[in-house]
Amino acid sequence: MSSAVQLRALHYETPTATLAVMMREAAISQWSDRPVVEPLRFELHITAPPDGDGATVTLRGDRDQLLSLQALVQNYIDSQLSGTGTMPRSPNNSPTLVPEGLTRHRFYGGALTPDASTGLILNSQQLADLGEIFDQLEQAVRVLPVGIAARRQRPWRQWSAAAGLVIAIGAATLIATLPTTTLNQTALESQPETSRRDSGAAPDASPESLPPPAEQDTARPAEEPNTVEEEANAGNATPDPAAREPSPASEETESAPPEAVPPPVAQRRPEVPPSAPAPASRPPTRPEDSPAPPVADDDSAAIAIAPEPFSSRADASPSAQAESGAIALRRSPTPPALIPLQAQLTEAWEPPPELDAPLDYALQITTDGTLAEVTATDALAERYRDRVPLPEIGSAIAPPNEFRTLGVQFFPDGQVSVSDRTPSPE
């Protein structure tokens, strides 16, 4: 996926509460009187009023926690004002408010607070300020009840019908034309998943009717429809191996849900022997490739690092290629002119503990060397856009007239890679 990220940082203050929300603006905002946004993260700081009691606490959380907290506070205030009684305490770990007298309320924060059992005492001013802050938020923006990225998800089964058709056509052609005698077992394993299935399935087999995949197949089920889709998109059902090469700008990458971040490539392929031959380094970009090859999520990384022609990959297992490909990406050379930028980013980059895949961004540079646009190359990078210390738009980050596009990768171990992704002239 390659979509420009439009983030908004909203900040609200009341005497006893401060709310900061990082939000992603949805494209449908143009049809709304207020910006339509998806909250990404929030930080809510509650302080005790001067000369008053009440908790002082900072709550941090994600979109779901913000929405549930907002609903809790608003519903609780309304129930208190209307005298409809207390809300039952949620049996799960969700936040709850319980009245304690006329002016005190006990807040059980669930996962938001370190000690969920005892709760925090909020006084009326703090509660009113919380309500005020959420009112301000509601008046300023319209919050999407679902995640933007989640709505882009396309379950692979959606493609199963088309995939089955293409498999059937491709299998028939492949079996008829492919010189199977040149394929040893290793080469067979390195084929795309569809090719392997084709060889053993009837031409009219649908994905559901296919036999269970082999043991190693279970490691990458998500790639199956992707590869087939690539073939379908190319409109090429011939057995030309090169035509089956997945493109970095794959549909799978675009549709990958940010919540389902797969494990790193090296973890996903534990069967790779340490002595596996190192594959060639990152191959040159093909004309149809995107100038910003995605590396941030596992699927895209696996696709990006194995673009060699089918025949040349016959001796190397795909897992070995994936592992060493990741290493190659990590060690992509930084042009000398960009070393200060890399050092600056490395110093500022604090990887979130839960991050387990690199974040990849394409930076568009103007002729005078200032940053014009930041594009997250996949869903994961978009999700963490506000967490990476990228320079602000308009700041000078490169020498004039030297780069048009830079690639910046933030790795979970704290490393940062900066590379030149300026498209080479045709």
Binding site: D51, S124, A128
Partner: protein, 187 residues
């Protein structure tokens, strides 16, 4: 801190109550106005000014029409009560929230004192601001309402409950909150 006044339009106040609910609503609105009078010392002039600024002056253009609206409360002494319609209820709601927002600071101060007194187990009426409020509220209530069985403690609790509610009505979404509370209470 004085918050901006709500929109003069009454359109955002949804849903619409049924006639049975209105009976309860007009009693509650009158009590909210009574609490505002007791705490802030404001009178009908301030309410008429608020109505004018909210563009609902046609429904309460002078003291008599305002008095007739408030007299619609079933808690009031007297006979021949006027029926309150939905537009009038909305207008009074907007006026209540507007006045509360105009006087957000003293309302907040009163709540702060009430919290402090409560935290220290101190009788709230011994705090000057709260004592004055209680006295004024009790006097106004006894003067205007007919409820011989209401005890001092009940009256005190009612006064403080209304005071705390005013804090929420004095914020930016106050009119909406008051309208929802009116509807919920009248069910």
């Amino acid at each position: 801190m004085d918050s901006p006044a709500p929109s003069p339009s009454s359109a955002p106040l949804q849903p619409t109550p049924n006639p049975q609910q209105l009976d309860s609503i007009k009693a509650q609105l009158d009590l909210v106005l009574l609490a505002l009078e007791a705490l802030l010392g404001i009178g009908s002039e301030a309410m008429l000014e608020a109505a004018k600024s909210l563009d609902v002056g046609a429904l309460m253009g002078d003291r008599v029409s305002l008095w007739r609206l408030r007299q619609a409360s079933p808690l009031r002494k007297g006979q021949g009560r006027k029926k309150l319609d939905v537009d009038e209820a909305r207008s009074l709601t907007l006026v209540c929230a507007h006045l509360a927002q105009q006087h957000h600071t003293p309302i907040r101060q009163a709540i702060e004192r009430l919290e402090q007194a409560t935290a220290r187990n101190q009788p709230p009426h011994r705090v000057a601001m709260l004592g004055d409020y209680l006295d004024a509220f009790s006097n106004l209530y006894e003067e205007r309402m007919e409820d011989p069985n209401l005890t001092i403690d009940t009256l005190r609790d009612l006064a403080f409950k209304l005071l705390v509610d005013l804090l929420f009505y004095s914020q930016s979404g106050g009119a909406r909150r008051l309208w929802i509370a009116l509807l919920e209470r009248s069910r």
